[in-house]
């Protein structure tokens, strides 16, 4: 699928660009807050992979579902998440999406269909299948986008989740964000096939490979898969070839440079999805440089305010530490 966007309206392109920039600014700020010791837990930044979340989520309706991962800030923002609530959650504040109980890896925003991220690799896959089953039963025509990485494609839950979705023809779009590494282990050492999408045939669903650094290519591919799902034709597996520009987590020595070569990292940095998209848009004269900068400034301000909001928010009260273990407190 090519990244030709001539057929897309300007508003859509602006939305797509803005979302990618918002993600980038959010992640950079999160990284800097971590470096300041303000984020108590570990964060896994999405920098470099923005095109995948934005491309996929731009093809979803507001009440469509997203199942996310430990590297989930991008998914949440792309689906329309509130950056103040997200930032507050990272800092462990009461005003966060999960009221400080979850942190980076356990964000949720049900009002926009973000049904939770999990720190367990592969765990979201059968959960996505379940969501798809619920929409079938309730006949809501909602579609589920399930994000996971190359590492997850080797888990047992991948097999069971995809198989079940295919057998029951569930409205799920499985999106594999193949960034070539599962922490330190390269895909060549862990995965028996060259492309994760090659596995789709084992589950009787279409498997598509797309350039994960090309947001429009991702968008158009996802749009087709979403259409398939919504019309009852069942699930698809989209593999986005992408790369994370930072380490697996903030604090990963040398930004992942222990297990990735310097040349490889430099090569991929040249393919920054935002820079590439931006220059294409400017070149095509759909946007001016000033318009691009305006969008960027807007995001910068937004994120800066979100960080302030988060810093000034209160911590949860320890008196409520046992709240919400069960629906009704004993």
């Amino acid at each position: 699928m090519s990244g030709n966007f001539a057929d897309l309206p300007k508003e859509k392109l602006a939305e797509i660009y803005e979302k990618m920039v918002r993600i980038r600014k959010f992640e950079e700020t999160a990284g800097s807050l971590f470096a300041q010791g303000l984020i108590p837990g570990l964060i896994h930044l999405y920098i470099g992979e923005e095109a995948v979340a934005v491309g996929v989520c731009s093809s979803l309706a507001r009440d469509d579902y997203v199942v996310s991962t430990h590297r989930g800030h991008g998914h949440c923002i792309a689906k329309g998440g509130n950056v103040r609530k997200m930032m507050a959650e990272l800092l462990g504040k009461e005003t966060g999406y999960s009221k400080g109980r979850g942190g980076s890896m356990h964000m949720i925003a049900p009002e926009i269909g973000v049904m939770g991220s999990s720190g367990i690799v592969g765990a979201g896959i059968p959960i996505a299948a379940g969501l798809g089953w619920a929409t079938d039963v309730k006949k809501t025509k909602r579609v589920v986008a399930c994000f996971f990485g190359d590492g997850a494609s080797n888990t047992g839950t991948f097999h069971e989740g995809l198989n079940l979705s295919a057998v029951w023809k569930l409205p799920v779009v499985f999106v594999c964000e193949n960034n070539l590494y599962a922490i330190s282990v390269p895909i060549k050492k862990s995965t028996a096939v060259e492309n994760v999408a090659d596995r789709a045939v084992a589950y009787g669903m279409p498997g598509i490979i797309v350039d994960g650094m090309d947001v429009i290519a991702v968008y158009k591919t996802a749009r087709e898969a979403v259409q398939r799902a919504r019309s009852g034709e069942g699930p698809s597996l989209i593999e986005c070839k992408t790369y994370r520009f930072r380490g697996h987590f903030e604090g990963d020595p040398k930004g992942g440079g222990v297990y990735r070569s310097g040349e490889e990292m430099v090569e991929w940095h040249k393919k920054c999805p935002i820079t590439m998209f931006q220059s294409k848009l400017v070149q095509s004269k759909i946007f001016t440089k000033d318009e691009m900068e305006e969008i960027e400034q807007k995001c910068i301000t937004e994120i800066r305010e979100a960080a302030e909001f988060a810093k000034n928010s209160p911590y949860p009260s320890t008196g409520e530490v046992t709240k919400n273990v069960f629906a009704y407190e004993a």
């Binding site: 959650e89 922490i183 949860p316 320890t318």
Partner: protein, 343 residues
């Protein structure tokens, strides 16, 4: 004093035993080239080769299952679960509970399955927040599976000696490593707060037998049975308690299965009082089992009810103020001890 990190002590045990026994192999996620998320397998792939130290895909069921098979085939595998929280993933629980633990028994003793599963547990509070799925203490689950030994070292010295025993034995062992202990001695905050984290680790080979508790601090008034990080919190609490004229004895079981009941009971017979401190959540936790044992075998010597200090029955919260309130702290130990002393 030859001070080693807990992770370095684990590394040394693995290294010395692998040099001695060519059948010992290691595998898990990121254990090979990266040396493990917590550096426990650092440089082992470099020194022993890729056929003996392998990186696996994210496949916990396959990791444990393959370990079982490898053991049946004559190897002595060390399988690493990256976090004990992942034990429920992808069929690992079945491999551990239904296969590994039961094979010797259900095959009438005709096979041995010498697998050592290593897994980090626990909260990293106050250094970092792991949240609900990366901070659990699940050792009690495995106390409840007949056929599995459960080892819970609290110091680098104990870790090395106990791991050697695990590697030399013929039984399946669940070797639990509290992740706060890994680098504790390198972090000034922890090191100053808990000087007991530092200890001498001899370079020579040595083994610590299972079922042998260690009295980390002798005392007169209350027997405090504590595991892993809680050993250090208990010793720190003891300083505060001694100002109130209360002298506690800290007993570290070191292994939960087998449990050194004799040492625990002997201590309680002397002091007449018991408090069990463990980081797992209260209900049906480590403390529940040990309290029952004490009640059964030392009832007539008890001068006070047995108390448990444990985490609240909640998933571990992310926000540090909540996490600190959810897991046991020195203050909780002090409150419990003073409560049964009546002073």
């Amino acid at each position: 004093m030859r001070v080693l990190d807990f992770s370095a002590a684990v590394n040394e045990a693995l290294r010395q035993e692998m040099a001695r026994d060519e059948n010992i192999v290691i595998f898990g996620e990121d254990v090979g080239q990266f040396g493990g998320l917590f550096a426990c397998t650092k440089n082992l792939q470099r020194d022993f080769g890729e056929s003996r130290v392998r990186d696996t895909p994210i496949s916990e069921g396959a990791i444990i299952g393959a370990a079982v098979g490898a053991a049946l085939g004559g190897l002595r595998p060390v399988a690493e679960l990256q976090f004990i929280d992942f034990v429920g993933c992808n069929g690992a629980m079945d491999q551990i509970c239904n296969q590994l633990a039961k094979m010797r028994y259900m095959f009438g003793g005709s096979v041995k399955v010498p697998v050592v599963i290593r897994a980090p547990c626990g909260s990293r509070h106050p250094i970092a927040s792991g949240a609900a799925q990366h901070s659990q203490s699940l050792e009690a689950w495995f106390m409840h599976v007949p056929g599995l030994k459960v080892v819970v070292p609290s110091t680098p010295y104990d870790a090395k000696g106990l791991l050697v025993t695990a590697l030399r034995g013929d039984d399946p062992v669940f070797f639990v490593e509290h992740k706060l202990l890994y680098y504790a001695q390198r972090m000034p905050t922890l090191r100053e707060k808990y000087p007991t984290l530092l200890c001498d680790v001899p370079e020579a080979e040595y083994a610590i037998p299972f079922g042998q508790a260690d009295i980390k601090k002798k005392g007169r008034d209350v027997t405090v049975i504590a595991t892993m990080m809680m050993v250090h919190k208990s010793i720190r609490a003891s300083e505060e308690l001694s100002k109130k004229g209360i002298d506690i004895e800290v007993v570290d079981p070191r292994t939960l299965i087998p449990l050194d009941k004799q040492a625990i009971v002997e201590s309680v017979k002397r002091t007449g009082r018991a408090v069990i401190v463990s980081e797992d959540c209260r209900t049906a936790g480590v403390g529940a089992e040990i309290a029952s044992v004490i009640m059964e075998e030392a009832f007539d010597y008890l001068d006070a009810p047995i108390k448990r200090v444990s985490a609240l029955d909640v998933p571990i919260p992310y926000s540090p103020v909540l996490e600190g309130a959810a897991i046991p702290q020195e203050e909780d130990i002090i409150v419990a001890v003073r409560g049964i002393m009546g002073k």
